[in-house]
């Protein structure tokens, strides 16, 4: 079931998405987290972040909106206590990075470069829930390239750049990130939405808007994976509303080499492993390897 994304080899293509599986260690008691293709941990910043004012989540039709604001324990606590535990548990770890400037991203990349037990870095240039940085880097090619280049220069680890559905032209951003040294691209992060409590006339999120995720955004995500796959020669990781084998196949046929499960982890943290088992059966029964599925949608 192994797949290769440039220099990054994964034992299987089913990953879990950043922010939807904590640091992974929280689930060690209910499942074997080492069996997951890779765990993209909650976005890490140089300093701990408290996150946004509540309420931070609300549910919407076939999806949810979140405005967590990248609450995280920060670099130091992560490498001192969490990372060793992840190594112990045998997890394949992708570190999701969050900075407010290209320099901060680069600084994080350099620091993680010297840490053991990290399979790749995922550069989050697409978080809609923070004022500085965040999505702004992901909307246009130039800043996306600048952040990617800064990270690329400071690390020998495989670099994944995570794209935003709010990009003006996602293929151009993808191309720019690729040329600036990204080994793979992951997409999509959330798209901003808003919901109002009509009784109180207040937004249902403390920070007014938040990022939409879940099955509701899947057709959008599949479309963007397809577009980027056609336009740029780079391994892709498909994300957006995946909750079962069918969804995984859909993303792979659209052009993804691997996928990440996000919101579906909330209702069942074992989703990735259950899908993996279905996926293995599928490949066996049909006699295909994962790589043979990639980009096979027939659109002629």
């Amino acid at each position: 079931m192994a797949v290769r994304l440039g220099p990054l080899e994964l034992k299987n293509p089913i990953m879990v998405a950043s922010g939807t599986f904590g640091y992974g260690v929280e689930y060690a008691d209910v499942m074997d987290i080492s069996a997951i293709g890779a765990i993209s941990v909650k976005g890490i910043s140089l300093e701990p972040r408290a996150g946004n004012p509540p309420p931070r989540i609300c549910e919407t039709p076939a999806g949810m909106i979140n405005a967590i604001g990248l609450a995280n324990i920060g670099y130091d606590a992560f490498v001192q206590t969490t990372l060793p535990r992840l190594r112990e548990l045998g997890a394949t770890v992708v570190v999701n990075l969050y900075g407010t400037s290209a320099d901060e991203f680069a600084e994080l990349a350099e620091r993680f470069d010297s840490q053991e037990g990290i399979a790749a870095l995922e550069v989050n240039i697409s978080c809609p829930n923070v004022k500085a940085g965040g999505i702004h880097f992901g909307v246009r090619p130039e800043p996306a390239a600048a952040v990617t280049r800064a990270v690329r220069e400071r690390t020998g680890l495989p670099v994944i750049v995570k794209l935003s559905p709010e990009a003006v032209n996602i293929a151009e951003v993808a191309k720019a990130a690729r040329e600036a040294g990204a080994d793979a691209l992951s997409l999509i992060n959330t798209i901003r939405g808003m919901s109002i409590d009509v009784e109180t006339r207040r937004p249902r999120l403390g920070s007014v808007m938040g990022g939409m995720s879940g099955p509701a955004i899947r057709p959008l995500a599949v479309r963007l994976v397809y577009e980027v796959h056609k336009a740029v020669d780079v391994p892709l990781i498909g994300i957006g509303g995946i909750s079962c084998l069918r969804d995984v196949l859909e993303f792979m046929m659209a052009g993804a080499t691997a996928v990440q499960i996000g919101t579906a982890n909330y209702t069942n943290p074992r989703t990735s492993l259950e899908i993996l088992s279905d996926f293995e059966k599928y490949c066996l029964e049909r006699g295909v390897t994962p790589a043979e599925l990639v980009g096979t949608v027939k659109t002629n």
Binding site: T20, E26, G51, I57, E59, A62, A71
Partner: protein, 250 residues
């Protein structure tokens, strides 16, 4: 995956749902479960419910307020139920010299019912103050009288005393002849009033909070509440039970 074993409707708009999984949850009063039925993409997230019983039987009390609770209330025996948990920190039981006073607002009775029962099992007896809008919103009132002393208040006087539940609470706390400990669960405004009543009289008070939740497991960081120190607490992992002083400034 668990299965629904029984559903009862103690009042219009409430459902008491028993279920059984592969293993016993062995939860404690104040702990909660994330629950979801087999209903596709609408809604997608689980819903948090306090355990009303746990061990040989697992039960939750659901008040119908929206799409998820409506679907839960429609479940029938043998329907599948995904259950995560038990999660969170429950109530700390009273010390032997503390007389427990449980203050429930509406469906906040759920974890306090379980607590009252546990207190009885460990030899004590709780006083339960149960406030509701009217006599159609007091599920479990009859059942709880079997093992606790019950005082009901309703806003319209249709059952028990007319008025707010904080009134009998103040009276009880003003009698300082015995040591008390207060446990409370209910609407936020009530919790704050209960907390204030306790702080004023230097009585220990544990409150169970609610917040929208996605993971129920401390990982999504969605269930933040602002605490008295100006920092955030996570209801699912730091709570749902907190010392009232941790949350409300005095």
């Amino acid at each position: 995956m668990a299965r629904v074993t029984q559903v009862r409707y103690p009042e219009q708009g409430y459902a008491l749902i028993w279920f059984r999984g592969d293993r016993q949850l062995a939860g404690n009063p104040g702990q909660f479960v994330m629950v979801r039925g087999d209903w596709g993409n609408d809604p997608i997230l689980g819903r948090a419910f306090s355990l009303v019983e746990s061990g040989e039987e697992e039960a939750i009390l659901v008040r119908v307020v929206g799409v998820g609770t409506r679907r839960l209330a429609e479940l029938k025996p043998d329907d599948p139920l995904w259950v995560l948990g038990p999660s969170g920190h429950g109530f700390a039981l009273p010390a032997s010299d503390q007389n427990p006073v449980l203050v429930a607002g509406g469906v906040g009775i759920a974890p306090l019912y379980f607590l009252a029962k546990k207190i009885r099992e460990t030899g004590g007896r709780a006083t339960v103050l149960y406030g509701a809008r009217n006599n159609r919103e007091t599920p479990l009132a009859e059942e709880i009288e079997e093992f606790a002393d019950l005082v009901v208040t309703t806003e319209d006087g249709s059952a028990g005393r007319r008025g707010l539940v904080t009134e009998p609470l103040a009276e009880i706390l003003d009698d300082t002849s015995v040591a008390r400990i207060v446990y409370s669960c209910g609407p936020e405004a009530m919790l704050e009033a209960v907390a204030r009543a306790c702080v004023d009289r230097q009585v220990e008070c544990q409150i169970a909070l609610e917040s929208p939740m996605a993971c129920g497991k401390g990982t999504c960081k969605g269930c933040a509440v602002l605490a008295a120190d100006g920092r955030y607490r996570y209801v699912c992992s730091d709570g749902p039970v907190f010392e009232s002083r941790e949350i409300y400034k005095s």
